[in-house]
Amino acid sequence: MKNKIIRIALGIAGALALAATLPATAKAAESNYTYTYDYWGDVQECPDTYSVVKVFTYKDLGIKTNLKNPESLYVYGNMLYICDTGNNRIIVLERIDDDEFAYVDEFNSIKGSDKNNLNAPADIAISEEGDIFIADRGNERIVKVDKDLNYLMEFTKPIDLSIADDLIFQPDKIVIDTAGRVYCSAIGINKGLVKYEADGVFSGFIGATPVAYDFTDYLWKKFASQEQRAQMESFVPTEYDNVYMDKEGFIYACAGGQKEEDLDAETVQAVRKINMLGSDILVRNGDYPIYGDLYWGGGGGITGPSYFTDVTVLDNDVYICLDKNRGRLFGYDDQGRNIFCFGGNGNMEGYFRRPVSLEHMGNDLMVLDQLDNAITLFIPTEFGNLIYTAMDQFDHGEYDEAQATWEKVKVLNGNYTLAYIGIGRSLLRNEHYREAMDYFELKYDDENYSKAYGQYRKGWIKANIGWIIAALLAIFLIPLGIGKIKAIKHEIDIADIFRV
């Protein structure tokens, strides 16, 4: 008996000792760099979709003096333009290799204008003909020069009743379309983007954000006195923080700094896709609204929702938003579904202190950090490339290939929602409805599931129509027949001739 107790005690002690050594090998509790949100809004860790190639400071780029408060990046073919706002200059670089930029030029003045020196250039855009548009903020103008920097024309403060005379015109971000029209978001003008025709004439505002207000605020305002009202926030549309024109000529505009409750109620949008009429046509078919992080906890002293400060659109209609608040990048596909989130605040590679501008060259991303005065270059990892490849293949109608690629994505990340839906959609296109249904059901995609199921049901009924009609007939005819037989039997029973 005693022996037995000792043996058991030893066994327990041994097990405990073993258990004590195990946690040492368990993985660290550090949170992952890249993540996605699943159907339930839970954070799912994800393999990295982008990896940092290098962080470029002015020395790496071959620039003589350090940058000072740079505000914007612009990519034109292989060329990268940096608006070094604080130094009143624009720097031109050329990407000569995957991980190398060559210094080409820099300029701080133009030729042939009455104000030749640039003053706080905030943004730059280049037309197909090579004409350069510069948002020359300090000089209150958008200036158009040819590629040799000869002055062509300028776009000045719009003359409109709704703009106060004493307002200083500060063009901040500009985009140009193929016809040479200029769209500009200016500081202090919240009626949307300022639109100029190609000849420099101001032609109106487009794409103002809808005004959001609470009913309670409205009531308070009704009862407040004139002075109190002046103290309160007024209900005005928010200004756009940044604009980007995609290859089809739609303007993606982001407005950060929205209030939490407005974002929650979806009365305002952090990103909008503006067509020529100024209406928002962004597709929002995702499980969650497009405003970056879904949870706004106070970790690291950072509170509030994501603040989208820039947006860029890849050639496959994937758009990526840059969150200034937490230094993160959020990718969404053309349906508005989240593809990846990554980044963070910090001093390490791939983390930012005050990111302000995001650009892309092919599928590579460049982020400009205003405090570090550095550009971080990201290239897609194998995982990221597979996702983009699969999307392209699907768009080109190569459904078998797309399915195979999504399968590879699924192998790398079994929690990746889009992989399942991608496989399902490929199967659906190839008319494998039953299998497609399984994939959609796994990720709760009810729309696609219904499409697949509708087709599956149609096929099933077509194949079994004979049986169905036979069964229906049987249901109606058999009771009828039984009734008839019973009636005849009854007639016979009561018939006089059989009475004995």
Partner: protein, 218 residues
């Protein structure tokens, strides 16, 4: 009691009373009057209906198509789920009886319980076919599901209210008044229960801290 289980008549009566539930469904006023006054209902049948109702509610989680119910399984507590029917039912029965017994209600506590359980019958009757049918529809046809689902709940509520009127022998106006009063009684009971539990917790923690203090001093 167990002796009666061996008799055949017991089972016949049970099945008959269970079948009578369907009569109550289609003829609420007549049916619920006979339920207690003519003793055509049994507790066994009432318990069965309640059990089936709970069973269907749990089965729905698993077997309804994901188009209509998306279940976050990590958060499901089956006992809480069962209690979500039983607890309001108990509150309703006690609250209703406690009020009506003061105002000439003829029904006894058990009869209130029995009539309420009989009133739940439309829930399994509607939801079971709906649950099966939900797997054979697309999202566009889903409106039928939602409408029928709501109808089954409204039907239940109507039956319960009608049943209460009959077993207490109340007029229409008085019945509606006491239905609303019973709902308030439920709220009051929840309030008292919450106060009760928080008092108990505070009382216990008082003695615990008292004990801790004593340990420090000694």
């Amino acid at each position: 009691m167990f002796k009666s289980l061996t008799k055949k008549e017991t089972y016949i009566k049970y099945l008959k009373s269970l079948k009578f539930g369907f009569y109550c469904m289609t003829h609420p006023l007549d049916g619920f009057w006979d339920l207690t006054h003519e003793k055509r209902g049994t507790y066994a049948a009432a318990n069965t209906i309640l059990f089936v109702t709970i069973l269907i509610r749990i089965l729905k989680l698993r077997y309804t198509s994901f188009l209509f119910i998306q279940v976050y399984w990590e958060d499901i507590n089956i006992f809480l789920y069962i209690a979500s029917i039983l607890f309001p039912l108990a509150l309703w029965v006690v609250g209703n009886w406690a009020l009506t017994t003061l105002f000439d209600g003829k029904g006894r506590l058990g009869q209130v319980y029995m009539a309420t359980c009989y009133g739940l019958l439309p829930y399994p009757v509607f939801q079971l076919p709906l649950m099966i049918a939900s797997n054979f529809v697309t999202i566009e046809e889903g409106q039928f599901y939602s409408v029928l689902s709501v109808i089954s709940l409204v039907y239940c509520a109507f039956l319960i209210v009608a049943g209460m009127g009959q077993i207490h022998d109340f007029s229409m106006g008085k019945n509606i008044l006491f239905t609303i009063a019973s709902l308030f009684a439920m709220l009051v009971m929840i309030f008292i229960l919450m106060i009760f539990f928080s008092m108990i917790t505070q009382g216990v923690s008082y003695f615990i801290s008292l004990g801790k203090e004593m340990m420090f001093r000694i």
